[in-house]
C-alpha cells in the first residue's frame, strides 16, 4: 500500500498538482483586482449585481468595464478552485493512506472557503483592511496547496526525515519566514490606506528593500551551499535552489519596474529616458508588471517551502539511484535527472 509507485497515490498527487496549478492564475487575478482597485467593482456578494455568481451574463462580464471583468473573473475562478479542492478532498479521503495528509487536504478546503468568505466580507463591509488580509492569506493558501502536492509526490514517500545537522534546512525555513514577512510588507504597500502618513509608508518601503536584500543574500548563500562539494548530500537540492535564484532575481527586477511603473523615480535627470518617462495611470503592461511582482512573490514562498521540504526529507542516495533506474519514465524530480550525465546525453544525440 505504501509503495511509492502505488497509482492511487499518483491520483492524489495529480489532483493536488491540478488545484495548485489553478490557484496560481487565481493569485494573478486577485492581484489584478488590487492593482485596478476593483475590489468594489461588484457591490454585492455572493451574487453579482443581483445575479447568481454563475448566471451573471457572460456578455455583460466580458464586455463590461475592466474592473468588473477582473473582479467577477476572480470570483468565478475562485469557485472553480473551490470545486477542485472538494474533488481533491474526496480523492485524498478515498486513496491516501496517511491520515495527516487527508487532514491537511480538508484544511486546505477549509482555507479556500475561509478565503472566499473573507473576500465576501471585504465587499459587504467595504473594508480595505480585510482586502489586505485576504491578499496576504491568498499566497499562503497557495503554498498550502503546493505543500499537499509535494507531500503526495513519489519523492516524499521515498524520502525520510533528515538526521543530523541540517544548516541548509534552517536557512530554507528562515527564507520561508522572511518571504512571508516580505509578502506582508508588500501587501501594506499595495493596500495602503489614504490616512497613512508619508513617513510611515516610507519606512515600509525601506523595510521592503531591506528584506529584499536579506532574501537575496539567503538565496545566494543557498546557491553556494548546494554547489559545495563537501556537502554532496545537498546535491538533490539544486533544482529548488536554482529555481529560487531565478525567481529572486526576476522578483527584484520586477520590484524596481513596479516602482517605476507606479511612481517614476526621483532621479529623473540621470538619463533622457527617465526624464521623459511618464507614469501610465492604470496602463495595461504596467499593471501586468505590478501584478507580476505580487504573483512572483508567492512563487518565492512556494519555492522556499519546496526547498525546506527537500532539506528536511532526504532520499537516501543509493535508493534514489535505484529508483530512478526503475522508473525513468515519468519521474520529474531532480533525483532522476541527476543520474543522467551530460556526456552521455550528448553521445546519445550524436
Amino acid at each position: 500500500m505504501n509503495s511509492p509507485t502505488n497509482p492511487r497515490h499518483a491520483l492524489v498527487y495529480l489532483a493536488a498538482a491540478l488545484v495548485t496549478v489553478l490557484t496560481f492564475p487565481l493569485i494573478w487575478l486577485g492581484g489584478l483586482v488590487t492593482t485596478h482597485d476593483a475590489g468594489m467593482a461588484v457591490p454585492d456578494w455572493p451574487g453579482t449585481f443581483g445575479y447568481n455568481l454563475f448566471l451573471y451574463p457572460i456578455s455583460a462580464w466580458v464586455y463590461g468595464p475592466f474592473d468588473l471583468f477582473v473582479e467577477h473573473g476572480h470570483r468565478l475562478l475562485a469557485s472553480v478552485v473551490g470545486l477542485f479542492a472538494i474533488v481533491l478532498c474526496v480523492i485524498a479521503y478515498r486513496n491516501e493512506s496517511r491520515g495527516w495528509l487527508v487532514k491537511v487536504c480538508f484544511l486546505f478546503l477549509g482555507a479556500i472557503i475561509a478565503q472566499g468568505v473573507l473576500g465576501g466580507v471585504r465587499v459587504l463591509l467595504d473594508a480595505r483592511t480585510i482586502a489586505m488580509i485576504h491578499g496576504c492569506s491568498g499566497p499562503l493558501v497557495f503554498a498550502l496547496g503546493s505543500f499537499i502536492a509535494m507531500a503526495s509526490s513519489k519523492r516524499w514517500r521515498l524520502a525520510s526525515p533528515k538526521t543530523g545537522s541540517n544548516g541548509l534546512g534552517r536557512v530554507a525555513v528562515m527564507l520561508l519566514v522572511v518571504s512571508i514577512g516580505q509578502l506582508f510588507v508588500g501587501a501594506h504597500l499595495r493596500h495602503s490606506l489614504p490616512t497613512w502618513r508619508p513617513l510611515f509608508f516610507m519606512s515600509l518601503v525601506h523595510t521592503h528593500l531591506l528584506m529584499a536584500t536579506l532574501i537575496l543574500l539567503a538565496v545566494l548563500y543557498i546557491a553556494v551551499l548546494v554547489r559545495n562539494s563537501a556537502n554532496s548530500d545537498n546535491r538533490e537540492l539544486r533544482t529548488p535552489a536554482n529555481a529560487l535564484l531565478v525567481i529572486v532575481i526576476l522578483q527584484i527586477l520586477l520590484g524596481f519596474a513596479t516602482w517605476v511603473a507606479n511612481y517614476a523615480t526621483p532621479w529623473v535627470e540621470l538619463t533622457p529616458w527617465l526624464a521623459k518617462y511618464t507614469v501610465q495611470g492604470k496602463g495595461f503592461w504596467e499593471s501586468m508588471i505590478v501584478t507580476g511582482h505580487q504573483a512572483t512573490g508567492s512563487l518565492l514562498i512556494v519555492c522556499s517551502l519546496w526547498l525546506a521540504c527537500r532539506a528536511y526529507r532526504r532520499v537516501p542516495v543509493e535508493q534514489s539511484a535505484e529508483h530512478s533506474l526503475a522508473s525513468l519514465s515519468n519521474e520529474s524530480e531532480s533525483t532522476a535527472r541527476k543520474s543522467f550525465r551530460p556526456e552521455s546525453v550528448s553521445v546519445g544525440v550524436e
Binding site: M40, P65, L118, I133, A143, L144, V205, A275, G281
Partner: protein, 407 residues
C-alpha cells in the same frame, strides 16, 4: 506525528488562523473619511502657539470649511458662491471606491489619485515623501502648467491636459491610457472638477486660518472668502493665453539664424535664463531655489529651509523635507507643460507658477524686455537643445518633416 513529520506546518496553520482572526478584530467597519485640518499652515502663521493651540485652531478652521463644503464622503457646494463645479461629477469622484447597483463608478479620486495627493488634496498621500517633486498640494490654489498668467487659476482644459498627458519625469501619471473605455473620457472630466473642488476648499481653509489668526470673525468671513476664491476660478478662462502658431518646417539657414539669436537672448542679463538653467541649458545654473509651497512654511515663517534644525520641528505638523525646485536640464527635452513649440512658448511667456521660473519680461512701450520675435527665437533655441538640428544638409530637412508629422 503531525509536527514531527513537517516542522513548518504547525506554525503555518497558526499563521492562517491568526490572519483570519485578525480580520474580525481589526475594526473592519469602514471609517468615515475626513479632510485633514491644515496644521502646517496654522503653525507657520502662529509660531508661538503650543501644539495644542495649533491643532485646535486648525480644527476650528476645518469645521467652518466643512459647513460650506462637506466631507470627502459627502461633498457639498455653498449655493451663495459661483457655480464653478458640477456637483454630480464631484460626487462621482468623491467617496469610497466602487460601483453602485447600476454600475456607476464612484470614488475616482481615491482610486487614482489619493496614493499621492491624499484625501484632502494636500499632496500628503502615503507615497508623497518618496517622490520628487512632491505631489501637488491643491490647497494653495497654485498650479504650474497652465495657459493663464502667474496668479490666475488654470482653466478646465489646462487641468484636463495634465490629467490626460501626465507630467513626464514626475510621479504624476498620464490617465489618457484609459481613454479606450468609453466612460473614462468622462472620468477625467469628473476628476478635473474634483481638483477644483479640493483646491477651492483648501484655499478657503487657508484664508479662514489667516482670518482667525488675525482675530477676524471666521464664521462671517468664511462665506465671503469662499465666494472670492470661487470667483477667481470662474474668471480663469478670460485670462487664458493662446500661443501663436510657430514655424515647424524651417528653411535650414533661417532656423540656424533663429537659434543663434535665441541663444544670445538665453544668455542675456535681461532674461537671466542661464543663471538658473546654466550656460548650456543643462540645468547647471548658479541660482537654485525652493518652490512656493515650501517657502510658505519655511522662509515666510522665518525658517531657513537649508537648516535641518530649523525646519525639522515642522515635521510634526506634516511638513516634508524641503527639496530644491531645481531649474530643468533643458537638453533632456522632457517638457512637462507639453512638448510642442507652442507649449514651450507658453511656459516662457507665462512662467511656471509656484516654481522659481519667472515669466519673461516683454518689451512693452518703454519697458526693456524681449520682443515677440525675440521670444520666438528663444523658443526655437530652447527647443533645439533637445531636438538638435544637423546644420545645412539634407538630413535637417528630413528631421524637420519628421517633427511636423509628430506634432
Amino acid at each position: 506525528m503531525f509536527s514531527k513529520q513537517i516542522p513548518p506546518l504547525n506554525s503555518f496553520f497558526l499563521l492562517l488562523l491568526a490572519l483570519w482572526a485578525s480580520a474580525f478584530f481589526s475594526g473592519c467597519t469602514p471609517q468615515e473619511a475626513s479632510f485633514r485640518p491644515n496644521e502646517l499652515h496654522v503653525a507657520s502663521l502662529s509660531q508661538d502657539s503650543t501644539d495644542q493651540q495649533v491643532s485646535e485652531l486648525a480644527k476650528t478652521a476645518s469645521n467652518h470649511v466643512e459647513e460650506l463644503f462637506g466631507t470627502p464622503d459627502s461633498p457639498k457646494w455653498p449655493s451663495e458662491i459661483a457655480d464653478i463645479v458640477d456637483m454630480v461629477k464631484v460626487k462621482r469622484s468623491a467617496g469610497p471606491v466602487g460601483r453602485d447597483k447600476s454600475k456607476v463608478e464612484y470614488g475616482l479620486f481615491r482610486k487614482h489619485c489619493v496614493q499621492c495627493h491624499g484625501t484632502t488634496g494636500d499632496g500628503q498621500g502615503p507615497a508623497a515623501a518618496l517622490l520628487a517633486p512632491y505631489p501637488r498640494d491643491f490647497r494653495r490654489g497654485s498650479f504650474k502648467f497652465k495657459s493663464t498668467p502667474i496668479g490666475k487659476k488654470p482653466t478646465h482644459s489646462d487641468l484636463v491636459r495634465t490629467l490626460e498627458k501626465g507630467l513626464p519625469g514626475t510621479g504624476m501619471p498620464a490617465f489618457g491610457t484609459l481613454n479606450h473605455s468609453v466612460e473614462f473620457a468622462e472620468d477625467i472630466d469628473a476628476l478635473a472638477h474634483y481638483v477644483r473642488y479640493l483646491s477651492v476648499r483648501g484655499e478657503v481653509e487657508r484664508r479662514v486660518i489667516s482670518a482667525i489668526v488675525n482675530q477676524e470673525n471666521a464664521a462671517e468671513q468664511a462665506k465671503i472668502i469662499a465666494s472670492k476664491v470661487a470667483e477667481s476660478w470662474a474668471m480663469a478662462d478670460s485670462f487664458s493665453v493662446k500661443p501663436p502658431r510657430l514655424i515647424t518646417t524651417w528653411v535650414p539657414e533661417d532656423q540656424t539664424a533663429a537659434i543663434e539669436r535665441g541663444k544670445a537672448i538665453f544668455l542675456s542679463e535681461l532674461t537671466a535664463c542661464s543663471k538658473c538653467h546654466g550656460k548650456l541649458g543643462d540645468g547647471n545654473g548658479t541660482s537654485q531655489d525652493y518652490d512656493e509651497w515650501t517657502k510658505d512654511w519655511t522662509i515666510r515663517a522665518g525658517i531657513d529651509p537649508n537648516k535641518k534644525a530649523e525646519w525639522k520641528p515642522m515635521k510634526r505638523f506634516g511638513a516634508l523635507k524641503p527639496v530644491l525646485d531645481s531649474a530643468r536640464n533643458l537638453t533632456l527635452g522632457a517638457f512637462r507643460g507639453g512638448e510642442t513649440r507652442e507649449d514651450v512658448y507658453l511656459r516662457i511667456v507665462l512662467g511656471i507658477e509656484g516654481s522659481p521660473m519667472p515669466a519673461i519680461a516683454r518689451k512693452e512701450n518703454d519697458n526693456p524686455g524681449i520682443t515677440e520675435e525675440g521670444i520666438r527665437d528663444l523658443v526655437e533655441y530652447v527647443y533645439s537643445l533637445s531636438n538638435p538640428v544637423t546644420s545645412g544638409a539634407a538630413p535637417s530637412n528630413e528631421k524637420g518633416a519628421e517633427h511636423e508629422q509628430s506634432n
